[in-house]
Subunit: 202 residues, 2 copies
């Protein structure tokens, strides 16, 4: 039932791949714990999407590392890279384990969840609906951090991920946004993304 | 050659243990990647210390979860907890793998390291030396964030860990401090901890 796509070789510098794997594995931990603690199947699904993505990056990194090693010295220097990549993969597997308990409706004991929920910040994942005022504006213009205390930490556009998007980035219709902020802020953010609220307070 | 200590049952609420395991596993990821990228054996050693600590917490959590389950319903509700605990453990193992390459002097290819070092913030681990002006002052009074842009994210006091210490906490001689900040700030912080600098700039 699993759709397996062939991973093709792409010439991408090993360092870029490793930076991306590191960033994604850190994001996954964040998302997975949040998914479990706020019982959010949406966040859990993003974790599984990212898991697939990181697997693919691991293959591509493996191929590039092999092609980069021309002698024993190179090989020695590249072993460290493959250990870090393997660790990033292990981390992403652990995050996927956590996500799975949410999707399998096992969940976390409510008493435990309560303890976690005292944490002030929370994560949210929302899809940008047609007509949302978030579309077509640069993040810089939206000033979400200043206005509602929310930071967009990742954007998924189809199969592509943009981690820690910069100010020049523009949110588009159908983008999936992962954001972090205080509970009230993230609720407001959700309404902005789905179009229920059409105006950003100053 | 490994010294194995008996882990004894302690009645600690499952939720407290899980919160601690979550926080530690996140800190370990941070420390491990930093250890590899800045080639810091000090940070790598802290990762291994934490790994031991998280193993111990996992055992204690296991015992407490078993005692907490009195019927099938409890057991079902607690399975989620043990999955998260196992994942935190897996994450900590991955972090330890990364730390090991630093301590085994395998290291990371310099070109890769360079890419990571563009990251603005970095982590540091310092021991508080006798006579350091950091001793005996509440973190609140030190105002490190405002003055030098450094945050203390963890304190190790012997075998005990204080994660995300609050403002009331006091740094003591021999404490090991883990802090995060811009490169210049963390260098200054190091000098304050080892007593080379005896005055905090305003």
């Amino acid at each position: 039932m699993v759709h397996l796509e062939k991973v093709e070789y792409k010439p991408i510098p090993v360092r870029d791949l490793l930076v991306e794997m590191k960033d994604i594995s850190e994001l996954m931990i964040d998302l997975a714990y949040s998914a479990a603690l706020f019982h959010s199947p949406e966040l859990a699904e993003e974790v599984l999407e990212l898991e697939e993505h990181i697997d693919k990056l691991a293959y591509i990194l493996g191929m590039n590392a092999m092609l980069a090693a021309r002698d024993a010295e190179d090989a020695e220097a590249l072993v460290g890279v493959s250990v870090v990549a393997a660790a990033a993969n292990k981390i992403s597997d652990a995050a996927a384990d956590i996500a799975a308990i949410v999707l399998q409706e096992i969940g976390i004991h409510p008493i435990v969840r309560e303890a976690f929920q005292k944490v002030e910040e929370r994560l949210i994942r929302v899809a940008v609906k047609p007509g949302s005022i978030l579309t077509g504006q640069r993040l810089e213009e939206l000033e979400l951090a200043a206005r509602i205390g929310v930071d967009i930490i990742a954007i998924r556009r189809g199969k592509r991920w943009i981690l820690n998007p910069d100010d020049e980035e523009t949110a588009r219709e159908k983008d999936v946004l992962v954001a972090r902020g205080a509970p009230m802020g993230v609720e407001e953010f959700k309404r902005l993304a789905d179009g229920t609220v059409q105006k950003l307070e100053d």
